[in-house]
Subunit: 317 residues, 2 copies
């Protein structure tokens, strides 16, 4: 089985390639990893790694001609960029996905497709727990583009052109690496930075509740969406993946349990009303019955998320 | 004020042009009527009527350069054609709307736009009364295309490129003219044909419940969406227009009250399982609080709908 990952150089794409290489999906014979920058090869399976601009005419079409059995489509511009650069957002997040689907439609083979969507397809006001059939009401161009792609993936699947599944990931925490400018960045930073002996800023109240999953669980979820029997998952064209609903205060408790009160003391409350406004407009918890029924993974607790990070990146205490 | 109607030769488009001409929207100085076939001019206002293929490159762009203050976008291929001709459906129902929005985005002026959407953005299973924030889950390519356009209209509006409102019309009954092949056709035929002294076929049980509005109320609703103060309607980027929920049996009671038992006896139950399946998959009633609050019109009763038709087209009894 030939697995292709579009967006394979990103944090999740790289981890997904390694997970597939390590056997997360049965029967994989070779991989094609594609991104704007050169993706890292995996140590085990035969692997073609390519740096290409997916927006260049015929590039997506040529990739689909290599007849992948399973495509993970993770390539996208992020929410902030899609909002600032209107045309780029639609070109990458909508048109590229549509060209991918059109290329697949014109092939004889019907591959599986896992499309990485986002909770940004939803918009406020939210109930405490967002049900699985909650209305699509995106409050950003990014959310509109992801919602439109979900609709396309569902329609191409209904017509039998592809076997597609759109998955909406929780906020990923703890992201490794340097702090970034995303509004959600502090949800990794308040744990990652103190674990490395550095200070971190907290732009929201400690009672703010968020919906998160660890990088490993997020990647296992993507892999599972491509591995579970099609006859089972085909009833769910769009899935909210499983996360845990925690308060910032609970996150800091877990930090303190792992690394002591000195680590917690490195987190300083700062006033960033714009970040607070964005984060508080996000839903705090989701119903994920379909994903549970289909055996998708979930973190046991916020302590579990902290342990995953420390076991891979260590701590400086 | 310059009003432009795209799709002005269709039944609703023609009626809308005449309603605007008769003063349904205050302050209109001239009209541009556009369709694939030559639209009929209106008797009063200055009016440019053009038969053009809106899919031809630069046609939509050139129309937008005439700087309309208010655009009604009714041009579409219907549900059956969009399902049978996959590429045509996306080209007309999605790409044309997007090109219209893009052309408007590049102009200095920010016009009002009323986009004619459809209840096909919803899919089963339905509650007895579908709430206004019900999930978008279209079961047809037509519904997917309309849902994608609603998302685009909302995003372009949020960004300030257009002042757009998407309106979802109930099934229109009683449509004048010849019987057509649409699954909903009998919802006009079972009243129109007996009123003209002809037989009609009923492909569903009499207890089937449907959501309908008369042609006049549908057109008044479209006009109202373009006339109501922008500051009021801008809070509702997508509106379910008002309809009445009636059973087929209640429709036939109204026919009998208008034209006697002989007229009702002309309606013969036939077995059309495919039509029955489609019609019974439609929702039976909708919550329309936003449209009520904004003063949208509604038929008083099914008798009111029958009277509207008879007053315009007469009856043969």
């Amino acid at each position: 089985m030939h697995v292709m990952i579009l967006g394979a150089a990103g944090m999740l794409g790289q981890k997904l390639a390694r997970a597939v290489d390590a056997g997360a999906i049965p029967g994989v014979s070779h991989l094609t990893l594609v991104d704007r920058v050169q993706p890292q090869p995996v140590p085990g399976l035969p692997c073609v790694c390519e740096a290409v601009d997916l927006e260049t005419p015929d590039v997506v079409e040529a990739l689909v001609e290599r007849d992948p059995d399973l495509v993970f489509h993770l390539a996208a511009v992020v929410s902030g960029q899609a909002e600032a650069e209107f045309e780029t957002g639609y070109a990458v997040n909508l048109d590229l996905t549509r060209r991918l689907l059109e290329a697949i439609r014109h092939r004889a083979r019907v591959p599986r497709l896992v499309f990485s969507s986002s909770l940004a397809v939803y918009g406020p006001p939210f109930p405490d727990i967002v049900p699985e059939d909650f209305v699509l009401r995106p409050a950003s161009s990014y959310g509109v583009q992801k919602a439109m792609c979900e609709l396309l993936v569902s329609d191409y699947t209904r017509k039998g052109f592809v076997h597609g599944t759109s998955v909406r990931l929780p906020t990923v925490s703890i992201r490794p690496g340097a702090p970034n400018a995303a509004a959600s960045g502090f949800l990794s930073g308040i744990l990652r930075e103190p674990l490395a002996g550095k200070d971190a800023e907290l732009p929201v109240d400690e009672n703010t509740r968020v919906w998160i999953a660890s990088p490993d669980v997020s990647v296992q979820g993507l892999a599972h969406a491509g591995a579970v029997e099609w006859t089972r998952i085909s009833a769910y064209p769009v899935l909210n993946l499983r996360g845990i609903s925690v308060t910032v205060s609970e996150m800091l408790d877990a930090l303190e349990a792992e690394a002591g009160p000195a680590a917690r003391a490195r987190v300083q409350r700062v006033d960033r009303p714009e970040v607070a406004r964005i984060v508080q407009s996000w839903p705090q918890a989701f119903e994920t019955k379909a994903a549970e029924e289909l055996g998708f993974p979930v973190n046991a607790s916020i302590a579990d998320i902290v342990h995953e990070y420390v076991s891979q990146f260590g701590k400086t205490i």
